[in-house]
Structure formats: C-alpha cells, structure tokens
Symmetry: C3
Amino acid sequence: MTIPVLNIIEACRKASSKMANKDTPLILNEWYVAAFKDEIGRELLARKILNKRVVMYRTVEGAPIALEDRCAHRSFPLSKSHLDGDHIVCGYHGFKYNYTGDLVEIPSQSKCPHGIGIKNYKLAETGPLVWIWLGDQNLADESKIPQLPWLENPDWACTSGYFFHPGNYVSMHENLMDLTHLTFLHADTIGTPDYASAPYKTELKEGHYKLIREVVPTTLSPVWGETTGLAGKNTAARIAASEFLSPGLHQVSVKFYDSALDEQTRETYKIHTAHILTPETNNTMHYFIVHGRDFALDDEHIESFMHEQLFAAFQEDVVGLGALEEVLDDRDEQHFEISVASDSPAVATRIYLKKRAEQEQM
Amino acid sequence: MTIPVLNIIEACRKASSKMANKDTPLILNEWYVAAFKDEIGRELLARKILNKRVVMYRTVEGAPIALEDRCAHRSFPLSKSHLDGDHIVCGYHGFKYNYTGDLVEIPSQSKCPHGIGIKNYKLAETGPLVWIWLGDQNLADESKIPQLPWLENPDWACTSGYFFHPGNYVSMHENLMDLTHLTFLHADTIGTPDYASAPYKTELKEGHYKLIREVVPTTLSPVWGETTGLAGKNTAARIAASEFLSPGLHQVSVKFYDSALDEQTRETYKIHTAHILTPETNNTMHYFIVHGRDFALDDEHIESFMHEQLFAAFQEDVVGLGALEEVLDDRDEQHFEISVASDSPAVATRIYLKKRAEQEQM
Amino acid sequence: MTIPVLNIIEACRKASSKMANKDTPLILNEWYVAAFKDEIGRELLARKILNKRVVMYRTVEGAPIALEDRCAHRSFPLSKSHLDGDHIVCGYHGFKYNYTGDLVEIPSQSKCPHGIGIKNYKLAETGPLVWIWLGDQNLADESKIPQLPWLENPDWACTSGYFFHPGNYVSMHENLMDLTHLTFLHADTIGTPDYASAPYKTELKEGHYKLIREVVPTTLSPVWGETTGLAGKNTAARIAASEFLSPGLHQVSVKFYDSALDEQTRETYKIHTAHILTPETNNTMHYFIVHGRDFALDDEHIESFMHEQLFAAFQEDVVGLGALEEVLDDRDEQHFEISVASDSPAVATRIYLKKRAEQEQM
C-alpha cells in the first residue's frame, strides 16, 4: 500500500480548496434553463431550482410566467392551485395574484391592500428552452443567455430528453469536461478503447473552458458508425470538443469523417449536444439534454436509433455520478482528490464556479 | 413584480414572531386525546404523542392505562411485549411492571429493588374519547377537559375517523379557524363559491377564539343539501362557527335552514365536528375527528353518505396541509407571512399557543 | 406511578456515562470480520465497515484484497468498476491500481506519477472468515485475531448466515451477554420459561467477559431436544456460556446432557455459536453468524432443522433490537437506564468498549 505521502495530500487539499464542490453555494445571478418550452402551458408547473420553489405557466396569450411557489398569506404552494385567466388563485384561501406577482384580490374582504405580492422571476425563451433568472432581477440581461444557434437552424435536426439527476452539478460539469470517461463509463455504449488516450488540447479563457480531443484514426461506436455510414472502417476520425459555456450549460461538439479520404471530397458529419445543468439543490440537478445533427435530417430510423443509444449513455452518467455522490456524501477529514493534466479545463471550471459563488456571498 | 416593500415585510415578521409555528415547543400541560375508546383494550397500543412514546392497554377490569413505552432497564419498547393480568412484562428480559409503572419483578434475581419504575400518565375517558395528560402529573385536572356534551347526547348521532397527518398542529388549527378555505381547498366537496366572501364576526377571549360566518342565502353543497332536504333551494342558510377550545381541540358547529321560511315554522338542522389535534411531533399529528348531527338519526344511508363526503373533504385538508408543510420545511431567511382581517382569530390562537409554550419553558 | 427518585436516576446516569452506547466512536484498531471467505472472489464486493467504504476481491492466485472504495482522482467508487488481472481499473476515467493500492496507470497520459494511491487494508483468513484491520496498519497483528478452533475442527459441523442489522453493535453485545432474554424475546423459538431465573456466575477479566448459566433440570426447546434425543425429558441440563472475545466477536457455548444419568455414562452434546459483529456505522451492523455442533455431524435433516430454528431466533434479535434502536434514537434529557446484577458482564463489556474507543481518540 502506498497512499500518497503527506505533502502530496496537503498539496491536493490546498488545490481542491480553491475549486467548487457540492458544498459550494449555488450561483444565483445566472441564466438557467427552467423547462423545455412545451412543458409550460396552462397547467401549473412546479419546479424547485437553486433551492427555490417556482411555479410556471403561460398567460392566455402565451407568455411564460414564473412566480415564487408560495402564497404571501400562509405559504401555501401556488402550484397546488388554479389559473383564472392570467391570474393565479391560491388553492387555500383564494388569494389572487396577477402574472407580475401582485396580490389583487382577497376573497374574505372587499379591499385588497396595495404593495403586497410574491416574487416574479424573469424568463426568456430561446428555441426549445425557457431560461430563468433567480438572482437579483435588476441584473437579468437577456443578452447574456448562452447562444446555441444550431438549436433553431433548419439544417440541424434535434431530439431532447430530461433526467432528474441525484447528484451535484459541479461533478456533472467535471464529468462532461473530461471525456476520457467515455472509454470506461460508456464502454458499452458510446465509448471506444482508444478514446481515453487520444491526444487533446485545451483552451482556458475566463468563464469559457474547452478541451478538444482528436481520435484519429479510430473505429466508431455503432451510434456514430451506423448513422454516418462509417461503420466498420478503422480510418474514421472523431474530433470532439467539450465546452463549458456557463454554470448552467455545457456543449459537446463532435465531427466525424473518413480520414483515409481526401479533405476536399470526404463528407463531414457533425453533432452538438447541449448538456443543460440546472441545480435543484446542492445535491440534485435537473438535467436537460438536446442533441442535434447536421445529417440524415429526415431519417426517422436514424433519429430514433441515435436518440435511444445516446440517452442510454447519458443514463450511465446519471447512474455513475449518482454512485459517486454517495461517496462524496461520506467524505471525512481524510478525503482528498488528485488532479492530472487532462483535468486542467475541469479544474479551471471548478475554480471559476467557486469564484462566482464567492462573489455573490460578499 | 411587486413584492412587499421592506417595511411591510419587517412588520409581518415582527407580527409572526409572536405567533406559534411548527418550531414552537409543544405544550405539555394540557389534555389531548390519546385514542378512541375502542382502540384501547387487552392488546398493547403504542402511540407517540408530544414526542413521547406511550403504550396503552386496559386492566382486566377495563381501566385504561398509559405508561412510558420504554423499559427502565435497557429502554426496550414495552409495546413489543405482553400483558400478565394487569401487569406489563418487558419482551426483552422480562422486567415486570404494575399498571402504575412500578417495577415489581426482575426474573434474573429473587429480589426486586424498590423505587424503580416507568412513568404512568393520567388518562380520562369522556364519551368515545380517551384523554391523556403528558405534562406535570400533579397539574392534571380532569375538570379542565374540554366538554363536548353532544358526543354523549342521545339526540345526536355521530361517526368518527382518524388520519395520520403529515403536518404540524399549529397550521391545522389555523386551517380550521379560517373556513374561507372551504371555497378553494374544498371546492369539489363541501365548499361553495360564496362561502369565502360571506360576512363574519369574531369573538376573542383568552384561550377561546371563535369565528362565525353567515352564508345567507346560499345553495348547499350535496353533503348538506341532500341530507337536509334543502337541495336545489337558493334560499338556504348556513351559519358556521369555528371555535378553538384548547390546544388539542377545535369545534365546528353549523346550522342549516331555509331562510325563505318563517323562523317559527322552519326546521333547523345542526351539525358539530370535533377536530381533535394531537401532535405526534412538531411536524406530524394524530388527527381524530368525530362528526355529529341532530337529524336523520336512524337513517343509515344519510349517515354513510355524509360520512363519506365529509371524510373526503377532511382528506383534502390532510393532503393540502401536507403540501404546505413541505414549503414550511423550506423556509429561508426571506420567508414572511401576511395576515388579513379574517385571520384575527387564527392569529389570536397562534399567539395564545406561543404564550402557553413559552410559559412551560420558563 | 413510581418513577425512580432523583438520586437513583442520577446514579444510573453517572454509571451509564462510563459505558459505551450507540454514540461512542467505533474502535478502529481491531480485527473485524469483513466477509465470509466465499463472498470474496473475482467479482468486486463493496462493503461499508466502521464508516469506511471498502472494496474486496481476490487476485488471480486467490489472495484476498481490500482497498479503499474510492478512486484517488475524483472519488468514484472502485466497486463500480472492473478487474484487469490483479489490478483494479476505475470505472470512471480508467485509473488503474495494483492490489497494494498503488496507482500504476492513467489512460489520458503516458506517464503515471509515483507515490499516489489508495489505502490497502490488511486481511487475514481463518476458516470460513476473512478478517480486516481498518485502523493503523502498522498495528495489525494477526496473532491477535480471536481464535475459534472449532470452526476448522473436523469433529464439528457448521452452518452460517448473515443479517444486515438495523441497530448498533454495543446493544447487540449486551443482548448476547445477558441470555436472560431467551425466555422472553425467544419465547417462541429457543427460550424456555426457567431460563431467565436459572443461577449464573460471571467471570470478568479485562477484555474477556463471561456469564455462565446452568439450567438444570430443564426441558429443552425443540431445536435442542429433537436434535439430541433429549426431547420430552424434564431432567435435561443446559449449561450456557456467553463470552465477549473482542469488539467484533461474541461466542456462545452450550452443552446439553441428561442430568438423571451418571456423569460417566451420559452423553454430552455441545454447540458453539460465533456471533460476529462488524459495525457498518454507529447505527447499523453486519451480523455474521456461524453455528457449530459436535453431534449428528452427517445428519442433513438435523442440520437443516437446527439451522432453520436458530436463524429464526437470531431474526428475533434483529427485529427486537431494531425496535430498541428506534427508542434509543428518541432519547432525550430525561433518559436513563438501570442495571441489575446479571448485567455485570454486559456493563463490564460496555465500559471496556468505551475505554478502547477513548484510547483511540487521544
């Protein structure tokens, strides 16, 4: 047995102390996805985000609304309630609020006091996503919503899904940033043995961290091989970029081609995956995923095959990181973690998340 | 969005700070219902009340007994045990106690030490109810048990039920005191749209708080309309009084009649409901209910219809206040609650409960 | 009601303050059974012991290995992983460790740093048991593993079983030390009414506590009567010794004979039960049991009958002490426990466990 000598452990702990982990306060002043567009309608949708209870619905005209899910009177959850036109009526004593959160009617009395209400949170829709700002409403700036143009590009076809994830969002960011794990955690689905040891380069800009891995030549796993026609070739190329775009968003972009062919004539197949991480609490997460491709746009068979294979792989992340979460829950004073070279963008991400969280605590 | 301005919130918080809530210590020196009479017999009944584990049984002659549910030796629960005549024998090492809680036999030794035992709690039976006093036994005064004479009056017919309620007893008192909620929480069962806005008056005496609501003219919901013969009339009267009688008891009394008829000749139908609130812990409650009527005494069909309808409504309270409890569990430093005019008896009740609790902590 | 007068309660509390209970820190520097021999193989076995996560397997040559169940990199549980020969490969990013816990390969880089690894815990096999030492590895001394020679003696036949026990190990030691409880907790299985009041003697040596109980003459319960041929006789003898051998081991030894027969000619039947207590946490326990007999060695019917009867009785301990645990979880400032004469070896055991735990905290 060779556990690390004490000075290595101390150095590891010192390094980790600057990185966010599951105990780091959540970052409030940020855009997060609250729901897929079609989840919000005339039925009340309750969701806890960043430890806050939120109720969402659409006005008669279709505008998405997010309010604090708690009546100002006796804290009854407004989501166990009903709409009256654009107003929400508490299911307990009938206190009625307009869609900006102002109390406008109290059934047991003729006059309604002014200046009473509940919080209204800014929402913004981009493509299939509805973003929410739960921090200081004066700081909500829609121009800062991360852009994913392929989501609305007619040359791309997308499918989407949702997992409730029993783990923290920091570990999920780290998982996504180091796709070395494809070889191991996803050995049965999207990973291949050569993936982990392929060369990579990193780009570290404040708030934007990227790792690009070039697996050339390789053999593609069925989800890519069978859908691109590169199945069976051992000359395939798989160029994957993992990008941290914001505390609530990570994008994976991959292109595939046959490296044996000439650059001018060969066909290139591209995919994007938006991994949308919306913390529910420090220990749980809403995990929205949108996957897009720029090929076989109208092929339903390819679409359903690809969706099935990929979401089986994402399920492996959910299960694996759920198991990790239990170990993290049991951390004691002897705990430490060791980082290696390929962790640099993940470490940068965690340092950034910690800094953002600390800025809000000041 | 108009959340209340800061000085309003501060005023709300100051007001709330004087009212009991789910964190307020439970009141020990009080009579609470421990069980329905027929629940206690020669089988041991375990129940946690006010955070105390209690085991109950009847002596051979039928006297109800309540003892601490914990052997003095190694804390084994005596409810997992058996009776030997009037004695209770621990199921672990056979320590035997008489019904006053004195240890009278230790099987492993011939002599039993004196002066050792477990707590015996005073019980008192009134009608179908068995009351317990878990505080200072010297203060237990049976004359202070709240009286519900209709429970034993042959001119009244009663049915009863029990819910284990996943919520605190303070919120349940408040729920019962403001029947405005009938229009909303019970819209599908016993409520009508006009109930919430009907005129009311309040009576606030120290330890006895009352709200009387007169809904005239009205249309009765089926549970009252079909059982009194007033169904279909829009001239019905519904005069309801909600009364806080003790920390463990709330009574609702309602009379119904046809307001279009002459006071001398019209028939009046009365009901009482005893809402019996026995805290199990600060967050959970035993909810015993007895409902009585002074009409259709021998009509089994009316009895079962009324029971079914009413207990469906009480179930709505259990579900609704269970949902409320989850919001209350999530209160943070930004939490506040706003009270309105019709809350005055509920607020008085909560101030009284808080004062009672504080007196015991001195 | 006579609850103990205050000075008795104070004396009880003072006495208890020297005894281990469920809140006492667990003792690390000790041998505990980690698993039955046949549980450890080429499949990874995860088990939490003394609050530590451990993964166990066998090398290709069959040597048992125990490692910390946490990758040094990002804490992924190695038990959700796979073996590569004698090496264990993390299921997340493929970090590879040899069986001593040294990190030997990082797939994403060509060079593996030296001096990094995870904890390796010493194991030792005796008969069907695999012992683990989780404390200071320099103190692990195999000569201190408690000896149970009958386990490997061909003149004895054994069966074994495992319970996950929802209770603390201190209460289980106490349970085993005072077999008075056979009359009550095991009234339906292995107990007889005269057991609790039979004469006993005790032997109290530092770290080795014993209670011997002689039940003569008696009638044997079916598990012994029917298997020894002494069924129906009221002249049977049952001489039982309960021995605390270590924090992780208690042995019960019983001999049976017909006391009406001459000592020279009568036959004696002996059994041993190893009650193996391996704390998982302060509130839960791995309960391994091996039962041996020196008679009817090849009688399969007797073996299965005896096993079934005994393990039904041990299940009663698990259920009973599980119920006790809930009471202990609810202890408040008024809690106390009273000890009696036959508790002396149990009390000595608990004082010893507390002393051992305190020594480690220094």
